[in-house]
Symmetry: C2
Subunit: 309 residues, 2 copies
């Protein structure tokens, strides 16, 4: 039996192979989808942006793991083998990197460091342009959202969070539902989207919802591009309803070179790297799920097919 790794070269499949073999030298690992020696031996697949339909080539697959926190790339494959369970990752290091990115962006905005980088005369000598707004709202209170909330709370921000089902998180004002969203947005200085892309989150951030934010709020999208309506964002930035936006995810990735976001002076773009999947850190949970799958045990971090994440 073998474990198939089918992830882009930029995610370093060889590093994952090395990390897995370091934990269990007897593991049979294939890096695919090309040149898989014995397709019928593949019992577990780790994938990210895999070609549609290729998972049908392995008749003895027992489980498929996304190589990230998101399952949308996996679920967008309309030719998945039926009744093979899907799992995703939930990793402390990935959460730490995401929290660090979000904190970096919030502090960058609060202290106006991009403005000073462009023009040190942006404010008079000796005067501060520190934004007093202290209210962070996080859309999505899963593994990543809760970790980010903890970091912001440590630094004395006021933190709110919104999720599909109402959660309880220490120190966080929790909201859910449409009215809950309105209630949260109207108190928000920094809105952070970490929601998965599902039919419910599609286009959630649009003119109507973003107008409910406090005037001059700042938007960070590190969830999925499909949650934000691109054409709604620019007028909101131009008229000052939003003071700026930092976008790490987009409807089309890489972001097309002529996309209007690229030229907007209130938009900071990062290339979907708010977090990353560190092979060393995630290898143990991948191995654990491989062992559980091949021995018929309950899997960790199962994808909820009904809700799509």
């Amino acid at each position: 039996m073998s474990l198939l790794i089918c992830i882009p070269d930029t995610m370093k499949p060889e590093s994952l192979r090395f990390a897995l073999v370091s934990l269990d030298s007897e593991l049979q690992i294939e890096i695919g989808p090309e040149n898989v020696q014995i397709p019928s031996a593949v019992e577990f697949a780790v994938v990210w942006n895999h070609p549609e339909g290729i998972l049908l080539n392995y008749p003895n697959l027992k489980a498929i793991s996304s190589y990230g926190h998101g399952a949308d790339g996996l679920l967008s494959d309309k030719k998945l083998p039926e009744s093979v369970p899907l799992v995703r990752l939930a990793d402390e290091t990935m959460a730490e990197w995401m929290s660090e990115y979000l904190l970096a962006v919030v502090l960058l905005e609060r202290r106006q460091l991009l403005a000073y980088a462009k023009n040190p005369g942006f404010s008079e000598w000796g005067t501060t342009a520190r934004h007093p707004g202290n209210n962070i709202s996080i859309l999505g209170l899963g593994f990543l959202g809760r970790a980010a909330a903890k970091v912001f709370l440590q630094l004395s921000f006021k933190v709110a969070g919104w999720s599909r089902t109402l959660k309880q998180v220490d120190g966080v004002s929790c909201f859910s539902g449409k009215d809950g969203l309105t209630d949260m947005l109207k108190e928000t200085d920094y809105l952070i989207n970490l929601l998965p892309h599902t039919s419910e989150t599609h286009n959630l951030l649009n003119t109507d919802t973003l107008k409910e934010l406090k005037r001059g709020a700042y938007l960070i999208n590190a969830g999925r591009g499909q949650t934000l309506v691109d054409e709604d964002l620019i007028p909101l930035l131009d008229d000052g309803q939003l003071s700026g936006a930092c976008l790490d995810v987009f409807r089309t990735e890489p972001l097309p070179s002529k996309h209007p976001f690229r030229k907007h002076n209130k938009i900071l773009i990062t290339p979907h790297n708010s977090s990353a999947t560190p092979a060393d850190s995630v290898a143990p949970q991948i191995l654990e799920n491989y062992r559980r799958a091949t021995s018929g045990c309950q899997l960790l971090n199962l994808v909820d097919l009904e809700h799509g994440y």
Copy 2:
């Protein structure tokens, strides 16, 4: 008796007057140095960048307070009234703002957000350019340095500190002396200067000391400009010994418009606003020292004249 406020308009003397009067409506406050009604009534002065010699005009001064953490501006006045004690501020909010600035700059550098702001194609799509270096070293373990250390420790950085006399700070590797400086610098990824300007710290950051840093270290100067030898910094940035520098303080302030720092693409300049003096927050300690001075009690936060801070 009265309290004289003699600070630049950019520091808002009227806000300080308002904050003090809010605490004690019977306080007599003069905003000077012009138009002081009864110079002989002035018993306490709060100053920042005051004109040399003016404090000799008040024969009944009992104490002089700097309107900031630094006492160098006060001490640079060679015509101070003899035997009038000097005090400075030590304020939690100022420390919080300073820590926030330092954290913002460290995370900005770690996550390369300025590079992405200039060019989102700075790294390949989906790959991170996160700097793994985790060692923060703080020069100066006074009120501000200890507060910053605490924030970096909360975020899992390794923190070292260097001070004139060896200190003990929870979780911080403490150093002092010339050999201690070398030992600390060689393990440093981010060097933060918060030292006061004294004869001992003058020109401390020069080619010799900065070459002791780990190659590619990042420098933040939020202490005093006189600690850094300007002409030594640029070659160290150009040859890669330093990956960059963020400078908030300078030998001449405002930084002259033709200073070579202004054009260097590895230098981020902020206009001496890493922290600021919030009137509301510091008014109680100013009032406390005013009361102590006028009733002959021991003052808080006395300036150490022997060591110059």
